[in-house]
């Protein structure tokens, strides 16, 4: 373990013990003797918690069983656990988009009552310290099969760590081939053509292409925003899709041209595994995806790409300097069927505390930490500004200002966005952009009605 990490860990232990002792009698041992199961994706974010689980058990007397599964598998299993009302899992890892589809059915426990209850929440917890874009995105009310987007609504999950979408590029490859990092979508297409001409062995660009909404939530939704495109317009009964608008047609023509010029033949089957693989091995020169993939691969000794990946904001439309970045927030929530909700909440507030945020981040795992205070903590500033991370810290700060959840909150999110991903594949495969977008819009409108 690095000396810095050891010092941070020591400070955090003292801080946790201190806060436990000094928090005006906050009783960490209220649920002593209980046992809970925490389910999560196999991920460095899980690793950041597992590393210190014994401390939580010592502090509270609560035994935590960690049940971890890899990405796609985890979502399948989570759906079954929640939809069948199983009491097995108490704390679950989830994201906002899947939560839109399960909260109207009462499958997640509302948390505002717990957050606001001084007998259940450590006074040092400071919920307001999370980036407002993240907590706002986790706040809504539910009615029958509807999400009512309101800042005063219920809280359904607590941000654990999050990703914002950025352009990442291999500095060594672009420099060798004499290519400047692009800032607009047509510039990206031109850069790809230049890379292919200079070295056909290098894939210019990696981006997800699978027939699933996760392909949309990285590059397309972020870049589309700069073209003036949203997934939906209006609200309530007037909600309508905007995917067949003139702006959307323009965006899709540019995006399809970019994929055709930049992406590998395997694009339609590529998920984050392939995107990360391409960057870390140097098979790929650029990628638009979650920024922490670049961060993790830059860690000294983590991969051949260590120290070689730089960061830039997502691409924009050619006539608009304003970029936008979508977010994915890995969060902790409570299964509504859990029989140990009190102990589950204790675990969540410990895992998302200020101290755990900084510890996880300076261990190189909990990146990006969701608390604003973490980004002002000297240990994290020093760590994130180490030379191997290049411009990670500064780029995060400039992108974060324009980061928000770019999807429209609604029940049925997955169906419409999966359809968009399928349409994107068809257009890249040669379907007429205008006609295919009209079909997509019709499909979504049918579902809305």
């Amino acid at each position: 373990m690095r000396l810095t990490s050891r010092l941070v860990a020591l400070t955090a232990v003292v801080a946790l013990m201190g806060s436990a002792a000094c928090a005006e009698g906050f009783d960490w041992r209220k649920f002593e003797g209980t046992e809970i199961t925490w389910a999560y994706d196999i991920h460095p974010y899980a690793d950041a918690v597992v590393a210190y689980l014994d401390e939580f058990e010592e502090l509270t007397g609560i035994k935590v069983n960690a049940e971890l599964y890899p990405d796609d598998t985890y979502w399948g299993k989570l759906n079954i656990q929640l939809s069948t009302g199983s009491t097995d899992w108490d704390v679950v890892g989830t994201g906002i988009q899947p939560a839109w589809d399960v909260t109207p059915a009462g499958q997640l426990e509302p948390l505002r009552g717990l957050v606001d209850d001084p007998s259940m929440t450590n006074p040092d917890y400071d919920y307001a310290d999370f980036f407002p874009a993240l907590t706002r995105a986790w706040t809504w009310d539910v009615a029958e099969e509807k999400i009512i987007d309101t800042p005063d609504g219920e809280i359904w999950g607590i941000p654990h760590a999050f990703e914002n979408m950025q352009l990442m590029y291999r500095m060594d490859i672009l420099e060798r081939l004499g290519v400047e990092p692009p800032s607009t979508l047509p510039e990206l297409t031109a850069a790809c053509e230049k890379i292919t001409a200079a070295d056909p062995n290098v894939t210019p660009m990696a981006v997800r292409g699978v027939r699933f909404w996760s392909s949309i939530h990285t590059a397309p939704i972020s870049i589309a925003q700069s073209y003036g495109v949203s997934d939906f317009v209006g609200s309530g009964d007037d909600l309508d899709t905007a995917l067949d608008s003139a702006e959307s047609i323009r965006f899709h023509k540019d995006y399809v041209a970019m994929i055709q010029a930049c992406a590998p033949d395997s694009w339609a089957n590529d998920n984050w595994y392939q995107v990360v693989d391409g960057l870390s091995t140097g098979k790929t020169a650029m990628a638009v995806d979650a920024n922490m993939f670049g961060f993790w691969n830059n860690i000294e000794g983590a991969s051949d790409a260590s120290g070689k990946i730089a960061f830039a904001p997502p691409l924009t439309a050619p006539d608009n300097d304003e970029f936008a970045s979508n977010i994915w927030i890995w969060s902790l929530a409570i299964n509504a069927a859990s029989e140990e909700k009190g102990a589950a909440w204790y675990f969540i507030q410990w895992a998302t505390s200020k101290e755990m945020n900084v510890r996880g981040a300076t261990d190189g795992k909990l990146v990006n930490p969701p608390r604003a205070s973490a980004w002002e903590t000297q240990e994290w500033i020093d760590y994130a500004n180490q030379p191997e991370f290049n411009n990670f810290y500064d780029t995060f700060n400039s992108v974060q200002e324009k980061t928000s959840l770019l999807f429209t909150p609604r029940y049925g999110f997955g169906t419409a966005m999966n359809a968009w991903a399928v349409a994107m594949q068809d257009m890249v495969g040669g379907a007429d952009v205008e006609e295919r977008l009209a079909e997509l819009a019709e499909e979504i409108r049918d579902e809305l009605n």
């Binding site: 196999i42 460095p44 690793d47 079954i80 069948t84 062995n201 983590a302 991969s303």
Partner: protein, 284 residues
């Protein structure tokens, strides 16, 4: 003569080509399991490298996790291998105990709806597991079979039992009825005929069939994924090696090699019977 030699040489060359194509992925995985991440990612691919046992150490949690950069998530690969052995062998044994009498009855007795019943049993193999997995999950939770070996052995009957019943039916039909009649003339009752005449004759075929269904059980993924938590089979444990924060290909390769050891050992031990199992009952 010369034509025959040429044909034989060409045939051998073709067999060699097929063997190379079939064996290459396995050889490649074995090589990767001894490589470091840099060698696995190398382009063009490297065939000569300094072998390391580090991936196997990580797999069995013998290495200093930080040194391998696999994080602090514990990988306990030994237990899933044992779980798979228990579940797969248990499932095969139960299927043989229940399936052979059923197969015998279908072969030797005439009763109304016999063929419909036989087809119904076989239809378990047609149903996609994902269709029944959610009710199965709820049922297992309700009766306390979730995450238990007993529950897994039971549910694996969906995979193993139809094959055993149909194969043993076919094997029994292959045994001349006259042999059983001769034993009956000598005064043997039905149970004795089955135990002392039919079963010894069925043995080679049954061993082969058991090996075949063992492989089906060993490779099953969906049932173990949904119906277990701690007692996961090796197929689920393999998937758990995928970790986006690390270069996981070397350790996944080591996991694949370990997961292949038990089936390969069994196939080597029972190769003779496996061939017999595949061809038993094929000729009347």
């Amino acid at each position: 003569m010369q034509n025959r030699r040429l044909a034989s040489t060409m045939l051998n060359a073709l067999v060699l080509l097929v063997v190379m194509v079939l064996a290459f992925p396995i050889i490649w995985i074995v090589m990767n399991s001894f490589k470091e991440a840099a060698d696995i990612n190398a382009y063009p691919p490297v065939f000569l490298f300094d072998p390391t046992l580090e991936n196997y150490k990580v797999l069995f949690d013998l290495a200093d996790a930080e040194a391998t950069n696999y994080g602090t998530l514990k990988i306990e690969f030994f237990k899933p291998v044992i779980s798979s052995v228990i579940i797969s062998i248990g499932a095969v044994l139960l299927s043989v105990i229940a399936g052979v009498p059923a197969g015998y009855a279908l072969a030797r007795y005439e009763f109304r709806g016999k063929e419909d019943l036989a087809f119904f049993i076989l239809s378990f193999r047609f149903a996609p597991v994902l269709l029944v997995i959610i009710p199965m999950f709820q049922f297992f939770q309700a009766v306390g079979l979730y995450d238990s070996y007993l529950g897994m052995i039971w549910v694996y009957q969906l995979v193993t039992l139809p094959m055993i019943i149909w194969l043993s039916r076919s094997y029994v039909e292959d045994i001349p009825l006259e042999m059983e009649e001769a034993a009956a003339i000598c005064g043997a009752k039905r149970p004795r005929i089955i135990l002392q005449v039919v079963l010894p004759l069925l043995r080679p075929g049954l061993v082969g069939a058991s090996l075949l269904v063992f492989l089906l059980a060993w490779h099953n993924f969906a049932l173990g994924l949904i119906l277990t938590a701690k007692n996961t089979p090796v197929t689920v444990a393999l998937l758990k090696l995928l970790n986006p924060g690390v270069s996981f290909y070397p350790v996944v390769s080591a996991g694949l090699v370990v997961s292949m050891i038990v089936p390969i050992l069994l196939i080597m031990l029972g190769q003779r019977h496996l061939e017999r199992g595949l061809t038993f009952g094929a000729l009347k």
